[in-house]
């Protein structure tokens, strides 16, 4: 069965109400905007989103915010909820204040590691990050190697929407520059990973040493070309 889909709409057609969805990208770089637009069009409700910088202030106009705006999101797990001037209220913060969206704030490295753990079959891990802060609230604390650490659990999702620079038709992926960010780890952490790709090449078109996400982690590919 071919992994290559003709349109983003087909690729996201089975994302239903209540799904947990990871979305790659950082400040718009490596963000699967075309898949997000298709998901908004499809319109499932009560989504839980896992995302580095959900909401506001960066220059990229098409991001998870379009789903929040459309009232499709019930929860966001993220590390950025407020941007730029600390006094500016973001779309996400507004939705949270209105009781429309629940926000779980996670330190960025812990977010990355929880996602990786989800993909790697690790149940939970101890990290020194966040000890003695709000990020540790309600979490188990243990001294390991003389240092206080908190227990953090793996994150998994039903779908990951990611973006890659290059793919072969088997689903091997290569990212470019700082557009890599959360995409490779999110590719591992979901039941179904859908990649929007700028360039599609034949099998054999990527040197095995250069593959950044092996095809085992990718279920669907949509060639979208370069989108500004």
């Amino acid at each position: 069965m071919s992994k290559v889909f003709e349109s983003c709409a087909e690729a996201v057609a089975d994302i239903e109400d209540g799904a947990t969805v990871m979305v790659g990208g950082f400040t718009g770089r490596g963000t699967p905007s075309q898949l997000l637009l298709a998901l908004r069009e499809k319109g499932p409700k009560n989504l839980a989103i896992v995302r580095n910088d959900a909401s506001g202030g960066w220059k990229n106009p098409i991001d998870v915010d379009i789903l929040i705006e459309a009232g499709m999101v019930r929860k966001v797990i993220t590390c950025f909820a407020v941007f730029g001037s600390p006094k500016k209220v973001s779309l996400l913060e507004r939705a949270a204040m209105d009781g429309l969206v629940e926000v779980e704030l996670v330190p960025q490295g812990t977010l990355a590691e929880r996602i990786r753990a989800g993909g790697a079959g690790i149940g939970a891990f101890y990290t020194p990050v966040g000890v003695g802060t709000e990020a540790a609230a309600g979490k188990e604390v243990r001294v390991i190697g003389g240092r206080e650490m908190i227990l953090e659990h793996a994150l998994k999702a039903d779908f990951s929407l990611i973006k890659a620079h290059r793919a072969d038709t088997l689903g091997n992926l290569v990212y470019r520059m700082s557009a890599r960010n959360f995409n490779p780890i999110m590719a591992m952490a979901s039941r179904t990973t859908i990649a929007e790709v700028e360039n599609l090449v034949d099998v054999g078109g990527i040197d095995p040493d250069e593959v950044m996400t092996p095809c085992i982690f990718v279920r669907r590919i949509v060639p979208t070309g370069k989108v500004a």
């Binding site: 913060e93 960025q108 802060t133």
Partner: protein
């Protein structure tokens, strides 16, 4: 009320921070004011800048017209990379940070306590904030340098006995560079090391909540201001 000197500019603070970054080191600059530091690294130093979105070897900002859509720092600025740079995913970028591989990080702050506690991610009373990578950097970098204005817009001290703002990490700051002084976090409290031109230790103390240890205060190096 005593007459105060003039607050140093952000650029001058950045120049002072840059002196702390010795040759051959790896440094993460926090979003905002700390990013200015990269413009002031002296020649002969091999400082490599890390950006937590997955770059080791961040270079100067991209010239207008030369921006690459896939290349930006964690603060969404179009940047370049220096020779010998590398890209990595977010997990690896934070392995570097959490694993203690960075020699230093320079972070902005709302408050620093006399024990070196740092608060820089959320305003009190606010529903949400942004951790970004600050908690990871504060917990993981070998040396945490805070770069901030000495007082708030309302004139209140940012160097306090206990942080009233939500904490980023406890007991993590080693050095505070403000627009009027350089202060070291030592075992027995905060030691005033340098004052900016026009400032006396007493004047700096006036704008600082906890008592400053004054042993051997020098003036901010002339090269900086």
């Amino acid at each position: 009320m005593i007459i105060m000197g003039e607050m140093m500019s952000d650029e001058i603070m950045a120049r002072r921070v840059a002196l702390e970054l010795s040759g051959d080191c790896f440094v993460n600059l926090g979003i905002g004011m700390p990013m200015l530091v990269s413009n002031h690294i002296g020649t002969g130093k091999q400082v490599m800048f890390q950006a937590e979105n997955g770059i080791l070897g961040v270079g100067p900002r991209a010239e207008p017209g030369m921006e690459d859509k896939d290349l930006g720092n964690a603060g969404d600025e179009h940047v370049t990379v220096s020779a010998g740079a590398s890209f990595m995913d977010s997990a690896t970028a934070f392995d570097m940070i959490r694993g203690g591989h960075l020699d230093a990080t320079v972070l902005g702050a709302f408050q620093v306590s006399e024990k070196g506690d740092l608060a820089n991610w959320k305003l009190p009373g606010r529903k949400l904030g942004s951790y970004g990578g600050a908690m990871d950097l504060a917990a993981g970098a070998r040396k945490v340098i805070v770069m901030m204005k000495h007082v708030t817009n309302d004139g209140l001290p940012r160097i306090v006995r206990e942080c009233s703002y939500p904490l980023t990490a406890k007991n993590c700051v080693s050095l505070i560079v403000t627009d009027i002084a350089v202060i070291k976090v030592v075992d027995d409290g905060l030691e005033l090391c340098e004052t900016a031109p026009g400032w006396t230790p007493a004047q700096v103390q006036q704008l600082t909540e906890p008592p400053l240890i004054v042993r051997n205060v020098s003036s901010w190096p002339l090269s900086v201001s």
